[in-house]
């Protein structure tokens, strides 16, 4: 795909808008084994090319986060969101 600069969705701030460029599960989730985490993320719609927006975050450690992925709103923890690499939307 493109070689746009990416950041991990887990590092993004509230209000961030962008597009998923890749899933990088290796070493990302301490909890789940990488391949399992990847499948779960895909099942919730986190695939390459999907638009994302970070809508809300929790009080403690800014965790968890609520993310708009295309048409759905999904809550997840920043730790898992570290596996989602996103490129920022170019402001038009």
């Amino acid at each position: 795909m493109s070689s746009k600069p990416t950041i991990a969705l887990g590092d993004a701030r509230v209000g961030f808008r962008g597009r998923i460029e890749a899933l990088a599960v290796e070493g990302a989730g301490i909890g789940l084994p990488g391949p399992e985490l990847e499948r779960r993320l895909i099942e919730l719609g986190f695939v390459e090319g999907a638009d994302v927006e970070l809508l809300h975050q929790g009080l403690f450690g800014s965790d968890p986060i609520a993310v708009r992925v295309a048409h759905a709103t999904i809550a997840l923890r920043r730790r898992e969101a570290m596996a989602i690499l996103v490129s920022a939307e170019v402001p038009s």
């Binding site: 909890g31 789940l32 719609g45 638009d51 809300h56 403690f60 609520a66 709103t73 999904i74 898992e80």
Partner: protein, 622 residues
């Protein structure tokens, strides 16, 4: 066609309206609510189609794929693939999709096609989709997917007519079973499926991406890091205040009704023993429990409104970090919150938790959440010992104490899970939390009314069965043997009940319990409310003229404050519910965990009551 009734399975993402459709199709009243993971069991119902065909409909837990990561999703997988013993795969799969949120549903539909059974896609919640201006080209979608597509509105009269017609024609010529090519998909397949679904979406849907405006506005406040938590606390607080404040008039009326009934029996020309049985055993006993119906209804009203609004998933979001700190899985919040109503559905709904240990922890602590059966006990004691006045000018002191008891249950549950997960099991802290936050919906009056009605009848049925039979037992124990001729003490002192109560006395003495409480606690193991009814009966026989409303006054006169507080502390923790223990055994599949729960709760209850009483006594409240 085969002679057997064709079976149709409803499969779809969580919260897309499968159960609402199931209810509409079969006339059932299964639980419907606006959060993912409501249905955790397979439910079967019958339907006769307009063409006169008899069909079997199966409602299933929602899932994002057939991969089955948790016990509830395993049920869906096993039914769809025909893996259940003695059951074939369904003859037709109706894939239900939320029309406002098609993306993940289309991927699932593609996966379901590989099962090798006929599939049909039902675009549900069409009413909301139309209102939001979402246009779906159903014909095109049907052609692209290669399966029939139909629209439905599960919650409106006539909203399933088109679906019924399509089902009828599909069932008329069911093909022989096709080749099943479903295999556990890997990441590549899932990704490919989602890309294909996204392609379909671009072709057939217009205007789908926008967020629901109302939801966006509400979440700006309700999910605000600080305001959101404050509002959550405020909601819980108001709920417990309301349980007290709003229920009063209705409770007084019911109590007056039972008093009147008791007086009527008292004046009737009946043998004394029969009179005592009716008046003290049945009316005072069962009546003192039924009095609490209004409070139970109010509590359920709050819970049902929150569930239907779509607030539960938000509350789970807000509480995630706090729960995680105690070692609880993120998905544990909703099961624990449902346990405020009753631990049994709460324990059942832990099926949505994938990790076995996480699920077990949640099951073990769920009975510590204050269930509605504790309300009668709490209310009785609070009403008798806590003055009915306001603090800070606007908060009722009684409601405040009630809130404190709920808080004690929550803190207890969090502490126990902390000890289990962090100290005993030393479980890795890796549980992920991933939960879809559904759009808010305005609760429907009809479904609220049905929910309340169901709850009220369950409560009354319990009063008429478990509680009634326990009351008969208590009355017998408290009435026999009859006092000897020329007895000087009250009749009840010669009864079996008094003997049993006094026999346990040495054990409960340090807790400040008297023999009447002891006697009430034993049948109270069957169900918590029984204790209140038992006290009603015992004091009625003892004092002669006690009816439902009187126990409060009697208790206030006879117990010390320390005893009352200790009994409250006891009830926060005590495992006084046989059905909960039975469900724990069933859901964990072992007697061991049932006994673990029983004994740890008993130990906590004893220690809590002991400390409470001894401290109260030290301050002069003994």
């Amino acid at each position: 066609m085969s002679a057997a009734t064709p079976t149709i399975a409803l499969v779809g993402n969580p919260n897309c309206g499968k159960t609402a459709l199931f209810n509409a199709l079969t006339g059932s009243r299964q639980k419907v609510a606006n959060y993912p993971g409501v249905t955790v069991e397979k439910k079967t119902g019958r339907l006769t189609t307009p063409a006169g065909r008899s069909l079997q409909i199966v409602d299933l837990p929602g899932t994002y794929s057939l991969r089955a990561r948790s016990p509830d999703e395993e049920i869906t997988r096993d039914v769809v693939l025909g893996r259940l013993e003695g059951e074939a795969a369904p003859d037709l799969i109706v894939c239900v999709a939320d029309a406002t949120n098609l993306r993940l549903a289309l991927r699932l539909a593609l996966e379901l096609k590989r099962v090798g059974r006929p599939v049909m896609l039902s675009l549900n919640m069409m009413d909301i989709a139309r209102k939001r201006g979402i246009e779906i080209d159903a014909d095109r979608l049907a052609r692209e997917l290669g399966v029939p597509v139909v629209s439905s509105i599960a919650v409106r009269r006539g909203g399933i007519d088109a679906l019924l017609a399509k089902i009828d024609s599909a069932v008329a010529n069911l093909p022989v079973a096709g080749a099943a090519s479903w295999q556990v998909p890997d990441a590549g397949e899932l990704r490919g499926g989602q890309h294909e679904a996204d392609r379909l979406l671009r072709i057939v849907v217009r205007r789908s991406g926008e967020r629901d405006l109302g939801t966006a506005r509400a979440d700006a406040v309700l999910l605000h890091p600080v305001a959101g938590l404050v509002i959550l606390l405020a909601i819980l607080f108001i709920m417990f205040q309301a349980v007290f404040a709003w229920a009063r008039p209705a409770m007084d009326a019911i109590a007056a009704g039972f008093t009147w009934l008791g007086a009527l029996v008292g004046a009737a020309p009946l043998p004394d023993l029969l009179k005592s049985f009716l008046k003290d055993g049945l009316i005072a006993g069962v009546g003192s429990v039924i009095v609490f119906l209004p409070q139970i209804v109010i509590l359920f009203f709050f819970i049902l409104v929150l569930e239907d609004l779509g607030y539960m998933a938000r509350a789970a979001f807000l509480m995630d970090r706090i729960m995680g700190g105690a070692g609880l899985h993120g998905r544990a919040f909703i099961p624990l919150l449902s346990s405020f109503a009753c631990a049994i559905p709460g324990i059942m709904s832990t099926r949505v938790i994938d990790d076995r240990r996480d699920r077990l922890t949640t099951i073990l602590v769920a009975p510590l959440m204050t269930c509605s059966a504790r309300i009668p006990v709490y209310t009785l004691i609070i009403g008798a010992f806590i003055p009915d006045r306001d603090v800070w000018g606007f908060v009722g002191l009684q409601g405040l104490v009630m809130f404190g008891l709920y808080a004690a249950g929550i803190v207890g549950a969090l502490s126990v899970s902390f000890v289990l997960k962090r100290l005993i099991w030393r479980h890795s802290v890796g549980e992920p939390f991933m939960l879809e936050l559904p759009d808010y919906k305005i609760p429907q009056a009809r479904s609220l009314a049905i929910g309340l009605w169901t709850r009220a009848t369950i409560f009354l049925k319990r009063a008429g069965t478990t509680i009634l039979s326990m009351m008969v037992l208590i009355w017998v124990l408290a009435s026999f043997p009859q006092p000897p001729e020329g007895a000087t003490e009250p009749a009840i002192s010669y009864s079996l009940a008094a003997m049993i109560g006094s026999a346990i006395q040495p054990i409960t003495e340090p807790l400040g319990f008297n023999w009447q409480i002891n006697v009430a606690l034993i049948p109270g193991m069957a169900a918590r409310e029984v204790a209140v009814g038992a006290l009603g009966t015992i004091y009625a026989i003892d004092g002669g003229e006690g009816a439902a409303e009187k126990i409060g006054q009697i208790v206030a006169g006879q117990w010390s404050l320390g005893t009352a507080l200790a009994l409250l502390a006891w009830y926060v923790f005590a495992p006084q519910c046989a059905s909960t223990l039975a469900v724990i055994r069933r859901e964990t599949g072992s007697w061991k965990w049932m006994w673990v729960t029983f004994f740890y709760m008993l130990a906590l209850a004893y220690v809590a009551a002991l400390i409470t009483y001894q401290v109260a006594r030290a301050f002069g409240g003994g």
